[in-house]
């Protein structure tokens, strides 16, 4: 390649044009990749915010007034193009199922990572490491099928309960918790363990009170991110939990709605026929609901991320300087 750049007359000799060109070119490529990738991501965020707000500007008469109904109503007795209808039940369903999944996953995941970092040896460690990787790769729909199949065999065919969804979610969540906690536990410097052992502290107390305590910020962050990872899962819940239109607090009885499933089922309903002029009717209310629910879901996930960061900040070892 010939000289592509104007060279300064450096007293120490200049870079060859090719190297300078390549360096500049790659800088441009990296910036380009970044900007290119930013376009869809910004576009997506903008779309969700823009369209997600529409539903909040529809009141119960179908008029253009801002209100919070969407967050406080459920879908009981809502049909057709009725301008009401919200996600109260779906928020609760999401919260309950995700919470249950967390309660199942965190102890198992944390103990496993402790095993891997502090105790593991030989084939068990190797196979657990490998299979945790495998588990990370389980497609979410397969997790849903698994939970569905387990309950179909144990309870009976067609069993769809909140807890089935929670089980499906924890299958997806456990490996994430194990991986992130493992990483965090490994970051705890050995010198702290040794300091503790040298004080005559038995291993398990060292692990619990020094290692886990030191890593707790990272572990909580990991757990929060794992929650964020599963809170948006749709396919497994569609299969394992089904849909519901009103509030259900009971994980062990009846179906539950969740935000992602809500989004899909509203999207599927499509445009509604509005052929009775006497009744308030908004033809594209279902699409509005889908976008609004997407907005709320993203906000929830983002606040989880934010909380994770705050927790990390709060718990992280103080450096004091």
């Amino acid at each position: 390649m010939t000289d592509m750049t104007t060279e300064t007359t450096s007293p120490l000799g200049a870079l060859t044009g090719r190297r300078k060109f390549l360096n500049n070119w790659m800088t441009a490529v990296v910036y380009g990749a970044f900007i290119l990738a930013l376009i869809p991501l910004v576009w997506l965020s903008f779309t969700v915010i823009d369209r997600g707000l529409d539903r909040f500007f529809v009141d119960s008469n179908g008029e253009n007034n801002f209100n919070w109904d969407f967050l406080t109503q459920d879908m009981r007795n809502i049909f057709g193009g009725m301008p009401e209808g919200g996600i109260f039940h779906a928020i609760w369903g999401t919260v309950m199922m995700t919470l249950a999944a967390t309660v199942i996953s965190v102890p198992i995941g944390l103990l496993t990572s402790i095993y891997l970092v502090e105790y593991g040896r030989g084939w068990l460690k190797r196979s657990v490491t490998f299979f945790v990787d495998v588990m990370t790769g389980i497609p979410s729909i397969v997790a849903g099928l698994f939970a569905y199949a387990v309950f179909a065999i144990i309870v009976g065919p067609g069993t769809k309960l909140g807890i089935v969804g929670a089980v499906a979610l924890s299958v997806l969540m456990i490996p994430v918790v194990v991986r992130s906690s493992e990483e965090m536990l490994r970051l705890v410097p050995n010198e702290l363990r040794e300091a503790s052992y040298a004080l005559g502290v038995p291993k398990w107390l060292t692990v619990m009170k020094v290692v886990v305590r030191t890593a707790i910020a990272g572990i909580t962050t990991g757990v929060t991110l794992a929650i964020a990872r599963v809170i948006g899962e749709t396919a497994p819940l569609l299969i394992a939990v089904g849909v519901a239109d009103s509030l259900n607090y009971n994980l062990f009885d009846g179906r539950m709605m969740s935000l992602p499933v809500y989004i899909v089922s509203e999207w599927r309903k499509g445009e509604q026929p509005c052929n009775n002029p006497d009744v308030a009717c908004v033809a594209n209310i279902t699409e509005m609901r889908a976008w609004a629910a997407a907005l709320v879901l993203i906000l929830i996930v983002m606040s989880l991320n934010l909380i994770a960061r705050l927790i990390a900040k709060y718990f992280s070892p103080k450096t004091g300087r």
């Binding site: 009981r76 049909f79 057709g80 052929n275 009744v279």
Partner: protein, 353 residues
């Protein structure tokens, strides 16, 4: 009606008790059904209407699909089912088992919806087609809008040479099943011989659910698809050749074909209103491309409260009020007054105990 004079009983299936003020028809408890998703919108309206009349009642309907609905019903998991298709012999037998007593279950055609063939051509609202032309389009033989087969039947329309884009449902559905049943029976050139809920024609664009199909047709000039007529919106629709005339879809025309159809040969007695839809009808003003979705109920319920909930709810569905509610919410065709009366009569005869 006798159902309301019964003493309240504790029920396990219906999960509720009935109040002892019979005149006011105060019902309570929960009623569980499952089945066809085609009825989902109408069912939302019915449930809302019924729950409005009986605040203590919760009706739930799980749109698991026709097959799933029938299975859950014959397993005894639900009190009624919604189904786009008729039960087969096995299911009839299983229903006898599930329904208390040996009278088994019956079909009630309470959701009738014309299926419209929708298309997107600028400036054209309606086209006439016979079954063979529609089959020709959907099996991929006719690929352009100005094809002679179409032009012949529409001398007045200015047909562009736009290529035809076929749009169908990606998932299994009752709409597809009825559409294909029409083509199997009314057209001579449809490749499949048996009706199925899965697409059997030429492959084209497809999407999950009615709204996706409508969306795709809306977004693409030259596209043609089929969907619940209520969703046709601004799109062009096809008038079907029935006898010698071309009939556009309408609520009355759809209901008419049901009235003109004979009962299925496998029906479970005279109370079982299982129609063998006559797709080749020449009855004037009938629109044979309809989807009939049945409500399947038992002829007898052990549990008094359950019986009352089922009959009252289904009576409401069959009533003029209920049918109009569905028509406005879901765009279905109200059943004829005579059919409505007949259904209510049958429901009154459902036994308890």
């Amino acid at each position: 009606s006798p159902s309301n004079e019964e003493e309240p009983t504790d029920s396990s299936t219906a999960g509720g008790t009935e109040s002892d003020a019979p005149e006011a028809m105060e019902l309570s408890g929960s009623l569980v059904g499952a089945g066809a998703s085609s009825q989902e919108s109408a069912m939302e309206a019915w449930r809302a209407g019924f729950q409005g009349m009986h605040p203590e009642v919760t009706v739930s309907y799980d749109p698991v699909g026709s097959g799933g609905g029938r299975t859950q019903f014959t397993d005894g998991a639900t009190s009624f089912a919604g189904s786009d298709a008729l039960m087969d012999e096995e299911e009839y037998a299983a229903a006898v088992e599930a329904c208390d007593g040996d009278m088994g279950a019956i079909h009630l055609p309470l959701y009738i919806s014309p299926v419209a063939v929708i298309f997107n051509l600028e400036g054209i609202d309606s086209l006439n087609m016979d079954a063979d032309t529609i089959a020709g389009i959907f099996n991929g033989e006719i690929t352009s809008w100005d094809d002679a087969a179409i032009a012949e039947q529409n001398p007045d329309a200015e047909l562009p040479s736009t290529p035809i884009t076929i749009v169908h449902r990606a998932d299994e559905s009752g709409t597809t099943e009825n559409f294909q049943d029409y083509l199997v029976k009314a057209a001579s050139n449809w490749p499949a011989e048996e009706t199925s809920g899965d697409w059997q024609g030429a492959s084209g664009e497809s999407g999950p659910g009615t709204s996706a199909v409508v969306q795709i047709v809306q977004d693409n000039t030259g596209a043609i698809g089929y969907a619940d007529a209520s969703r046709a919106g601004e799109l062009g629709t096809v008038a079907l050749k029935v006898g010698e005339e071309y009939v556009p879809f309408s609520a009355e025309a759809a209901a008419a074909v049901v009235d003109a159809s004979p009962l299925s040969t496998g029906a479970n007695g005279e109370n079982d209103l299982a129609f063998e839809l006559d797709r080749t009808t020449t009855a004037s003003g009938a629109y044979p491309l309809v989807l009939v979705s049945y409500t399947i109920v038992c002829q007898q319920y052990d549990d008094e409260a359950e019986r009352n909930l089922v009959t009252e709810f289904v009576k409401y569905v069959a009533s003029e009020d209920g049918q109009n509610q569905a028509a406005s919410a879901a765009g279905s065709s109200p059943i004829s007054a005579s059919l409505s009366e007949r259904v209510i009569g049958i429901l009154d005869g459902i036994a308890a105990g």
